[in-house]
Amino acid sequence: MAEFKKADSMLEWFDQRLGVVNFAKVMMTEYWIPKNINFLWAMGVLLTVLFTFLLVSGIFLLMYYKPDAAMAFDSVNYTIMQEVAYGWLFRHIHAVGASVVFLVIYIHMFTGIYYGSYKKGREMIWISGMLLFVLFSAEGFSGYMLPWGQMSYWAAYVITEIFGGIPVIGDELVVWIRGNFYVADSTLTRFFMLHVLLIPLAILGAIVFHFYSLRFPHVNNEDGEFFDFDEEAEKYLAGNKKESKVVPFWPVFLSKDFFVLGFFMLFFFYLVFFHYSFAMDPINFDKADGLKTPAHIYPEWYFLWSYEVLRGWFFEIAGISGKDLGLMAFGFANIIFVLLPWLDRSPMVKPANQRPYFKYWFWLMMADLMVLTEFGKLPPTGPNAWVGFWASLVFLVLFIALPFITKAEAKKVEGK
C-alpha cells in the first residue's frame, strides 16, 4: 500500500480512505440521465422519498404498537392516535403513504409500459421493479393486519383463505400461514415480524438492485431514442451543455425531481391531514371480531383489480369450479406483468401512441384495469358479477393476445 500523504482538508482525508470524490462522481455528478424526459421520470425519486416517509413513520409507530391480539387495537387507536404527541400524524403519514405509494408505483409502472422501458436491454430493470411491486404488496397486506380492526381481520381472513384453493396442500397451507385454524394472535405476530423486519429488509435490497440495474442499460427517454451516453457525457463535460443529450443526476436531474416532489407533497399532505379515510377505512375502527362479519369485505384499493380477476369467475366451466378458475386467473394476473418483456415481440422502443397496434392494447388494458378496480369494490351481485367476469376475461385475453399483436405490429413497421 502506498504511503498516505498528510491530508490538507477533511475532504481529502475522507477521499484518501473512502474514495469519496470518485464515489460522488459515479453516483451523482457524472451519473448521466437523458435530458429528453418529462415529469413522469420523477416517480422513482418520489417513491424513494415516500418509502423513507414510511420507514421513519413506521419506526415511531413501532415504539408504541403492541403486536398482541388483545392489545393491538387500543395501542393504535388510543395510545398512538390520542396519547403520543404527534402519534396521530405518524399514523396518518404511514397509512396514507402506504396507499399513495401504490398510486405512484402504478404510475411508474404504466409509464414504463407506455414508453417501452422494459425491453431491449432493460429487462432487469423491469423485473427488479416488479419484484419491488410484489414486496410492496406483501408489505401493504401484512401491515394492514396490524391495527387489528374488522377490515384488518376479515381482509386477512379472505386473502389467506385464497391459498386454500391450491390443490392437495391448500387446506394445510392456510393453517400453516395463519398458525391457527382461523386468523388469530399467531397470525398477527408473524405478520408483524414480516411487516417490520423481513419484508422491509428485502425491499431495501431490492431498491438497491433496482437502482443498480439502471446503470448499464441507462434510463429510457421520451422518444425511446438510443444514443451513446459516453459521447454525450463528454460533450456535457466539455461545456456543450445545451447540445448534449444528457444531464448529470446531481444537480440537474434532481432539481427537476424536487420540483415535482414539492407539488406532489402538497397533494400528499392534503390527503394526510384532510382526506385520509380512503386509506383508513372507517370499518377498521371497529375492533376485530372473528364472530361478526362486516357487511362488505374488500381489500385495499390497490389490490382490487387482481381481487376482481379472482372473483369474476363465479360459475363452473367444463367441470372446473368457479373458485378454481378464479384462482388460476388470479395466479395468471399476478405473474403476467413480469413476463411483459417477452410478451412484447416488437423490437420498437417508442411511446405507445407512436406504435400502430400497441397503443390500442395499452389503453384497452388501462380501461380494463380501471373497470376491474371499480367492480372489485362493488358488491358482486346481479349484473356486477357479469361485468366482473367479462372484465376478468378481457384481461386474460389482452395478455394472451399481446405477442400476436406486437408480432403483427413489428411486421407492419418493417414493411413500411
Binding site: G179, N180, Y182, R190, G290, L291, K292
Partner: protein
C-alpha cells in the same frame, strides 16, 4: 490428475454437506411456523353428548367459532342430511353463526327455533332458515362420531354422508 479428481470430490462433498445443512434449517424454519400443539389440540373439540338435556342448546367453541349442539326431544322430527343420530337420539350439530352477517343466534326452546338478534333472522331447530335475511341454513362443521363422543374437526363417515346429501 489424482489431485484434481480429489479436489473435485472434496468440493462436491463440501457442497453436499452444506446443502444438507441448508435443507435441515429450512425444515426447522417451516416447523417453527406450524400451529402450536396447543392450537392443534384446540382444533379438535371433543364433546360427550350423552349427558346433554333435550331441547337445551349446548354451545362449544371450535376453532374460534361457536358450535351449536342441540339434542332433539322425542317429538322433534329429524331432517335428512341435517340431523345426526348419536346413540338413540338425534342432534343438530351446526356452526352457530348466522349465515347473514355472522352474529350468533340464540335458541328459543319453547318455540324450537333460533333467532338472530342482529337482523331478526330465524332458523328452525335443524338450522334451516325460516325467516328474515339469512341466505342459507346454518353451516355444519366437519365431525366424527366415536360412540357417544362427537369429535369436531375430523370428517367421519356420517359427516361425509350428510354433505353428499346436502
Amino acid at each position: 490428475m489424482m489431485d484434481e479428481s480429489r479436489r473435485g470430490f472434496i468440493g462436491k462433498a463440501f457442497g453436499a454437506v452444506a446443502a444438507v445443512g441448508g435443507i435441515a434449517s429450512l425444515i426447522a424454519m417451516k416447523k417453527t411456523w406450524d400451529p402450536l400443539p396447543s392450537v392443534m389440540s384446540a382444533g379438535f373439540t371433543t364433546v360427550d353428548v350423552s349427558g346433554l338435556e333435550a331441547n337445551k342448546l349446548e354451545v362449544v367453541v371450535w376453532r374460534g367459532k361457536p358450535v351449536f349442539i342441540l339434542k332433539y326431544t322425542a317429538d322433534m322430527k329429524p331432517t335428512d342430511g341435517r340431523s345426526v343420530k348419536i346413540g338413540e337420539n338425534y342432534f343438530s350439530v351446526m356452526i352457530g353463526l348466522c349465515t347473514h352477517l355472522g352474529c350468533i343466534p340464540g335458541y328459543e326452546g319453547d318455540k324450537k327455533l333460533f333467532k338472530c338478534a342482529c337482523h331478526g333472522g330465524e332458523y328452525s331447530a335443524d338450522g334451516k332458515q325460516t325467516f328474515g335475511p339469512p341466505p342459507r341454513p346454518l353451516d355444519i362443521p366437519p365431525f366424527k362420531l366415536d360412540g357417544v363422543t362427537l369429535v369436531l374437526g375430523e370428517e367421519g363417515p356420517e359427516y361425509k354422508k350428510m354433505t353428499a346429501k346436502a
